[in-house]
């Protein structure tokens, strides 16, 4: 197998991750056998439509899946070689927010509305480091300043609803970075913001990453963001990784029809098109994945084999793999 080698030694190594949710309609296999690697200091993208399981994957890394969901037996999540799934409650808490931090997509709901933002940052610090209350507070203010919030001292005493959307997202970032984590899981960090502020936040994220030397798993549905800021990308569909590749290669030669569809949906300045081409159909419910290739009902190239047999991740070359039978029979692409 010619899996794409990460640039450095793997920081995060996810193998065969599966997350199931028990429901009235049966078991929802929200994440179904995901392999994923993030190297130290590396920025990796995880892309897919909403409902594909990318957020669940991020939560599973920190074991934040709550009943009725659970991480299936046989999954493995290793941080610097340590199996996070085998840790005790206290040990995993020592990882959360400390070695691995999470930034949520909706800053207003991710912040506690009845606590001052400064306190919310300080409590993170105090959860992991034996510092006094005032030290923690002082560091929280410092952190707020570091994420570019002016007048940080005063803003620390504010409640979330008193801040603007961009500022809240900065607060959230400050909170995530308060303990200088090695890995940041950024789940749609900018979706809730308007475009100019989006850019500001992403710039900030870049800056901080360089300063702190941390790795980032950037989870988004927006390939545009991925294109500019990541080295490698995983594409997720229906609970599975359907394609992985270096960013450059993914954009140049997408191997999976789904990736192709996603790329076609990006508005581009260099190619004039009549209209954006959206992928027809909907993501199927997680309780009833279609047999065979999960994408086949929406795939313009699907044939018999796609309907009956699920493809494995097949190597395409140069660190690229795709979960598609077309990889073996590229000629069929032209048939339709």
């Amino acid at each position: 197998m010619s899996a794409p080698a990460p640039a450095r030694a793997p920081l995060l190594e996810v193998r065969d991750l599966a997350v199931n949710f028990m429901g009235f309609d049966g078991v929802a296999r929200a994440v179904d056998g995901v392999d994923l690697v993030v190297g130290e200091g590396e920025t990796v993208g995880l892309v897919g439509e909403s409902g594909c399981g990318k957020s669940v994957t991020a939560l599973a890394v920190l074991r934040l899946i709550e009943p009725p969901g659970h991480i299936a037996h046989g999954s493995s999540v290793r941080l610097e070689g340590r199996d996070l799934l085998a840790l005790g409650g206290k040990e995993i808490r020592a990882v959360r927010g400390n070695h691995v931090a999470l930034v949520f997509q909706e800053p207003l709901s991710a912040l506690n509305p009845v606590l001052k933002v400064g306190d919310q940052i300080a409590e993170t610090i105090r959860a992991h480091e034996a510092v006094t209350r005032s030290t923690a507070h002082w560091r929280a203010v410092e952190m707020l300043a570091a994420v570019g919030i002016p007048d940080a001292e005063r803003r620390a005493a504010a409640y979330p609803h008193q801040l603007s959307g961009g500022t809240r997202q900065r607060v959230l970032l400050a909170m995530a970075l308060a303990c200088r984590p090695k890995l940041l899981l950024a789940d749609e960090p900018t979706t809730a913001l308007d475009v100019t502020i989006q850019a500001e936040i992403l710039e900030l994220l870049d800056d901080l990453q360089k300063k702190l030397g941390m790795a980032v798993l950037l989870i988004t549905h927006n390939l545009g963001i991925v294109a500019e800021r990541t080295r490698r990308v995983y594409v997720m569909y229906a609970g599975q990784i359907v394609e992985e590749a270096t960013t450059e290669r993914l954009f140049a030669r997408p191997a999976h029809p789904y990736t192709e569809g996603l790329l076609a949906a990006i508005p581009r300045l260099d190619v004039r098109r009549e209209r954006l081409q959206a992928i027809p159909g909907q993501v199927p419910p997680a309780t009833a994945w279609p047999p065979g290739c999960r994408f086949h009902p929406r795939c313009p190239y699907a044939w018999d084999k796609c309907r009956s047999e699920m493809p494995p991740l097949l190597p395409v070359g140069e660190g690229q793999r795709a979960r598609c039978w077309l990889v073996n029979e590229p000629q069929r692409k032209g048939m339709k």
């Binding site: 808490r93 959360r96 912040l111 506690n112 409590e123």
Partner: protein, 323 residues
């Protein structure tokens, strides 16, 4: 903020006034007579009763009676009890503290118990503990308070003799130390307070559980967990505080329940409070007392709603700072 407070106060005054007017009209327009000087003396002559009616002004037309009553009320006079021959204000002054002790104890106990059970259920959401406690709270929530009182009386008073069956203190302890007397009152308080508290605790627990579950499903709880906070901190500091405001409001709204419950429970346990006064007055048609009890209840209810609003504002900065 000031405008809000003024508006709120105006509502309180209006509702108290409405209570007084409605009650006054209801009791005076009703068929039947107050027991005027008859009570246990069945040989009171009609002359005596007629004169009594005149003394209390009950022979006047209703509007005249109302204007007189309203006039007295404005001057702070609640009239005289037909049955007890006492100023109504002194009757209430004596009974109200007892009811506040009983109701207050029950309110605090039910809040503590309800919050604890609700929090435990939410923390163990969907576990066996949750299911069992859920069944228990459902049953207690569905129990009529007077029946629960009777059953507690039967079991703990009559069968087991753990606790006194009636009254507020033991007759023999009048010369005991202050501590002994306080303990004695506490022992008498247990059964009536438990009757009131268990039912309301179930209501609080059910409410608290769903508020907490909703709060725990919130993104900020996941965020708190993602920060590596211990579960206790997540539950108590993050989830509970968010779920507290609606519970405080509910606690404020529960005051009428405790008042109504005291009417039922005080008679069962011989607790000499406002509920007993109301109960006796209703059956003796003691108009002035009935109206005054309704007035006091109205004031208590209005005041507790106001208090709950203030408490909510203290607990939730969003409410506090918006106004």
């Amino acid at each position: 903020m000031l405008g809000f407070a003024a508006r709120r106060l105006a509502f309180a005054v209006a509702s108290v006034a409405a209570v007084v007017v409605i009650t006054f009209l209801l009791v005076h327009a009703a068929p039947g007579e107050p027991m005027l000087g008859t009570a246990d003396r069945t040989f009171a002559s009609p002359d005596v009763i007629a004169r009594q009616r005149a003394l209390f002004g009950l022979d006047r037309p209703l509007p005249v009676q109302f204007i007189r009553y309203a006039g007295n009320l404005v001057r702070g006079e609640l009239g005289t009890s037909f049955v007890l021959h006492r100023p109504v204000s002194s009757i209430l002054a004596e009974a109200l503290p007892h009811t506040l002790l009983l109701g207050g104890t029950a309110l605090v106990a039910s809040l503590l118990l309800g919050l604890a059970v609700g929090a435990l259920q939410a923390a163990r959401h969907r576990s066996r503990t949750d299911t069992l406690l859920g069944a228990a709270t459902l049953v207690f929530y569905s129990v009529p308070v007077f029946w629960l009182g009777l059953m507690l009386l039967l079991v703990f008073g009559e069968q087991l003799h753990w606790l006194p069956v009636s009254g507020m203190r033991s007759a023999a302890l009048e010369d005991g130390s202050a501590l002994a007397r306080a303990l004695d009152v506490a022992r008498h308080l247990v059964l009536p307070a438990a009757s009131l508290a268990l039912v309301q605790a179930a209501a609080f627990a059910r409410f608290q559980r769903s508020a907490l579950v909703e709060s725990l499903a919130g993104e900020h709880i996941r965020a708190a967990r993602a920060k590596g906070l211990p579960e206790r901190t997540v539950l108590l500091k993050h989830a509970l505080r968010g779920a507290l405001a609606p519970t405080i409001t509910l606690a404020g709204l529960s005051v009428p329940y405790f008042l109504a419950g005291s009417v039922l429970v005080e008679s069962i346990f011989g607790w000499p409070g406002l509920g007993r006064v109301a109960y006796d007055a209703i059956f003796a048609r003691d108009y002035n007392v009935i109206t005054a009890v309704a007035l006091v209840s109205g004031v208590l209810v209005a005041a507790s709603n106001l208090l709950a609003d203030v408490a909510v504002a203290l607990a939730d900065p969003r409410v506090r700072l918006e106004r």
